[in-house]
Symmetry: C3
Subunit: 131 residues, 3 copies
């Protein structure tokens, strides 16, 4: 198992981890298989989406805020109920394919750690499986 | 393949299955690998989120109800269109990592079967893969 | 790795790929394992849901449109910000279990490629792992 350490600097922030995941795949020397990424946090998520125009991430963040407002009425009294719900909508694990020694991603795809209750020290676990 | 049997008692209910999944991992004797959890139902979902304060689950359920009201106007005439949509938003499979013979979960994470159209008898399938 | 080629004909459309995935599982001759499905696109998603009454798909599409309207106010100026957000909500990978040589699916489950910015030529990658 590999660990990626992440330090977020804002309450809500999408941090790209594509390069770290690609590095772990290279180092594993696995030619064909899969890569599972798992976040052990309940107020953050994982997402694969556009890596080119940063306005896409801005739109995803602001639409999630419209759907699940930070200042909505919630039972959970720690002030981060919205972060738990946003985390539930995006999910906290990803599956990727390793083919010919490379992580398979579309041209416009990047892998993001989605912080919804930062700033915090976070981590993400990777498990690579050879077929 | 292992099967976890679940009996839900309400229309909407999140039932924790963490202990059953951990038991399956222990019994498998796999030291390093992954655990795939799959729900074969179209009106339920699977979720990993907070296992401490139950108000978090209440908030997730009630925000999903705001976003996808049970009594909205839908084409599907069985009265459970909202359950299909909620299931689509959460998803029906999960990936977990097994490391040093243990299922990896964050301190505050529990694994939940999310019933949206109960009460019913349900099941969840597990497949453990060694690396 | 197997590739499924898909040609979408509308802007928004859910195309069933269950038969192609089942074929790939049969051809692999894997008896026990998992099947990872990955979409390399940022304006499409993957979903497992009801394969019987097509009104369920219609309801999922129209509720997603209510939550993330095509003509909302977004920063991304290519006119498809909604498609990126819908893709993020559904996700772009799936996990399935292979047991006794068969892909495990519930009676009412079908596997769908969810186009949100078509018509386009798309593809989906499959990786089958034996346990």
């Amino acid at each position: 198992m590999k660990i990626i350490e992440i330090e977020t600097r804002r309450r809500v922030e999408f941090i790209e981890i594509t390069a770290s995941v690609k590095k772990a795949v290279k180092e594993s020397k696995i030619k064909e298989g899969i890569c599972v990424i798992f976040s052990p946090h309940t107020t953050a998520g994982l997402l694969i989406n556009e890596n080119a125009d940063p306005s896409v991430r801005k739109d995803i963040i602001s639409q999630l805020e419209k759907l699940v407002p930070r200042d909505g009425r919630y039972s959970h009294l720690e002030g981060n109920a919205d972060a738990h719900i946003k985390s539930s909508l995006l999910g906290n694990s990803l599956n990727l394919i390793i083919h010919e020694g490379e992580l398979i991603l579309g041209t416009w795809q990047g892998i993001y750690f989605c912080e919804f209750d930062g700033p915090r020290k976070r981590k993400v676990y990777l498990k690579l499986i050879s077929d």
